[in-house]
Symmetry: D2
Subunit: 319 residues, 4 copies
């Protein structure tokens, strides 16, 4: 390996810049050349590629988003597109590729590796929906953003005895709602992994009110259902206005947290090390507080486990 | 005047605590006793009242919401309720009342003054919809909250070339959208005071994209229409996903800004001074960077002027 | 006027980027060409100049510091340097110059205008030490940074019954300490404009402690004296540890506040308008909440007035 | 065990409130009564104790500091004091004690357990200087506070080509400097665990400047030496002003991070579980991302290991 490429793909996540910075600097430190590929696999196909030096990743560690931009690529879904990608990689003398992204991006990396091209994946997605790693890049920042929104709502909800619903990201994986709910001390957490009973939600609010609780904040992962409809049904049950906040892409942005910056640094380091050790077709991650790596295929097959302990703890603490 | 009462009413706003703190401490400093009335006019009617000392307003200056809580009161809309309020005020030997709130709260204060009870109003509402004052308490903080949300969206929107809609508060008054849009450098600002042409919004996005703009953020005051519908119509025009963020009551919360804390301190001071000078039935405010006061009636009659200059400036700067 | 130059000079201040962005875009909108001069007067002398287009000021509104960089220039103090500056301006066909900076930068602008070159000054300095304008760019953000530091100290000081000293900027002008102290609700504010009596400071702390106050935070503008020495003397008087926090250049950085961004937009607009109207040798500012302008010379001669009212108000509220 | 006591001792740390909340609510949920002991061991000796119910720990999860206050106690150092503490515990029918604090607090807990009283320790200290646990409560928040300060400095340092020194906490343990330096991307990190060579620091700054680096930020743990002296010596070497920022107790305050809030919840849960299982004289912690517990004595004897890997990684990335 003499020159590596690096790209970010899929939805962007805070900490991607830290991982880019680390990948580039560790590679250069080890005598490799580095090509930055813009706009993910689409940019790869379109040869939107530039050489990267140490200064090119200066002052990005504290920025959300990704300096290399990202995109979803339909062209890369086709065999023609994938071959084109390989051609471009060879044309630019790139002999190893670091892909920063989520599930879909890893599948693309696996495809390239199946075709013989050395790739390494770094988990970058705010959803934390990759089972093989305890944390994905961006998750901690996204949870912090939600908790900070809960902080704001707490002030005003207390003053008014209000009920608020906050819709957060998570179509299949409720981790953002779960962690933010536990950290934010909300009254109820609705996640796609568990059924919910709106009567019980309403009961809890009414009981809390009798015990003097001044506010009720309910977190809903988007996969659970339509927040506005749930709010309406809840209003009917508790006879009180329920206001909805939809955080949307707000959760993708923001200055990366300390955790995401350090993870990004460590992931980038391990990714380059693997390429230097001729270990390809692997993804890096963190397990039991240790940076680890594993075959992409294996990683993609691990079933995501819901953290029932944290869910139960949040339930007890919200009393 | 020997004892004053203070209450917060209507929607809460950051800075209300600073105004309560100032009112209480300035009053005590001037030898007055102070009664804190909880839950606005409703708490007044229900005699939810406690004596306040210097320590009771310690460590609240940095908290959103209102320590005295707030509520909307239907009882106070009736003549019976208003008389009951007067009875309670006299029963508790309160001979002057400071009301912190918006339009509706001021009407209540005016009613009490019409019935002969000395009242002073402090403008506390995030909407900035009181025409007689350049700023209402809470407005600056709410705008900051929106701008900080725009900051987050900017990172991720740039990475992805995304179009985002952010719905902010403002049913009749677009000031939050206007100020946050100008400060946040968004691409378009839709306010209830001005008609909008969605074709033009779409044109601007498409032109910006051609010029290399990586993101488009559109602020919509809630009075303009349903964000989700506008998003759908816009998607049809620009053939690109448009994600909606609804900030909701998030905008009411948060640590008050410097401006709102200083305003709160100054408003509280002037309110107590007016009571000490036997000037009643007045509201305090800030105009031309000077604390001022005026008859409630007059204040309520001033027509709100839309700040066309800022609107035009935002338009030019968003090119 | 066909082409204007813009530079930032002296200490940087949050909001300078907003002013650059506005100056550039308003100028381009009005058909003027714009040259960005890097590193202030020194860069001018060294012809460190680039053409600026709309995209060159994209995504800087939310960044602290200045995209055009800044420096102090000894060369420009000399007549030779000043003539060289004029030569460069003419060589680059710049026929109007916008200077963003403080006192010293304005003197430079005045010198150029005295030599016949059309200049306009925009007040950019966190110290708020320009008397002719109610606010300078960066002041509001700096005060917010200090208040946020006070917030942090408040938590821990309360838990421990601690006394803390916070040293803030301000060699001659205590405005940062004054505004942050009033907004932060600190126990004492020491500014260069007023003598202080350490016995009185100590008395107040001891009395507060007896009344149940859990913490004491004292703000000191750097012009008052050495914080560590004052802390030692205070420890001797109150027999309790006094910990010092020195915020230093922390106060220069940070995302600009809403106020500073809007001011930046408005100052840039007025600066370009003045050049278009052939009004030269002037500075822009804000007075009584209105954007204004005035001859540089006059502006530099206005004596700075200390805001005794806010000082007294802070004193009463800190009881 | 029918009634437990909970106290915070030593320096306060963000997340202590989350741990108090969790301890109280988990205990109540399991049918135990809870006594809150104010001001640490000193308050225990003085019987400054109140019964705690669910509402008493409402709305504290987001607050820095500790609701139970803290203090250092000389009385508790003596045998008389310790016996008095035992008497008070028995008098109040407390039969198990949760101590939240650092090294010194744990020694106190061990003393009580040596005397036969059931105690459990929760690690709460921003310094992360307890070797047996990967994280102590408050560390993540403190690091975030430092990183946010670095963010601010970065803006202004870039604009000016400045060199800044930031002094952070850590007399014997450089973890705050190490983690914040890695996450903040600073140019140099000086910790008490490693000798430093100021010539090398200076060389790096000068080389960086030649390579176009616009700023240099150097983090110094307070145990390394006097920042102002180091700054002066550095100025002599690089012929450029070096400004010092001393964060002081700022690092103790602030809203707890997500990590610290979740840790607090989990630590409190495990602490109560241990008491319920009649396992005493133990401390809880987190290792390899799992909540664990171990005998106090053993925990206190573990030697703190410096994280050389992170130190080396930071070194490479700062190039």
């Amino acid at each position: 390996i003499k020159r590596i490429g690096v790209l970010t793909s899929g939805g962007d996540a805070p900490g991607m810049n830290a991982a880019i910075r680390s990948t580039v600097r560790i590679a250069l430190y080890n005598g490799l050349a580095v090509s930055g590929i813009r706009r993910g696999y689409q940019g790869l196909i379109e040869a939107d590629i530039d050489d990267m030096q140490i200064v090119d990743v200066g002052d990005i560690i504290n920025r959300g988003g990704t300096k290399l931009l990202t995109a979803r690529s339909e062209d890369f879904m086709t065999e023609v597109g994938q071959k084109r990608a390989l051609d471009v990689l060879r044309m630019f003398e790139i002999d190893g590729l670091v892909v920063i992204g989520g599930d879909g991006s890893f599948k693309g990396a696996k495809r390239l590796w199946d075709m013989g091209f050395p790739t390494i994946g770094i988990p970058g997605t705010i959803d934390n929906d990759l089972a093989y790693t305890d944390l994905t890049l961006g998750f901690d920042t996204a949870v912090s953003t939600v908790v900070s929104a809960i902080n704001n709502l707490r002030d005003t909800s207390s003053s008014h005895g209000r009920v608020s619903i906050v819709e957060v990201m998570g179509r299949h994986c409720g981790d953002i709602a779960l962690f933010a709910g536990l950290a934010g001390g909300v009254e109820d957490i609705l996640v796609p992994e568990r059924k919910f009973d709106l009567d019980e939600v309403a009961r809890k609010i009414l009981q809390g009110r009798r015990r003097g609780k001044l506010h009720s904040i309910i977190l809903i992962a988007e996969g659970v259902g339509k927040s506005y409809e749930i709010a309406e049904r809840l209003e009917a049950l508790i006879h009180q206005e329920v206001r909805v906040t939809v955080l949307g892409y707000l959760q993708r942005g923001g200055t990366p947290s300390v955790t995401d910056r350090i993870l990004g640094a460590q992931f980038g380091q391990r990714a380059v090390e693997l390429l230097l050790e001729d270990k390809f077709g692997r993804v890096v991650g963190i397990r039991d507080n240790k940076i680890m790596d594993m075959a992409i295929e294996e990683a993609l097959n691990e079933p995501k486990r819901f953290d029932q302990d944290k869910y139960d703890l949040a339930e007890i603490l919200s009393l």
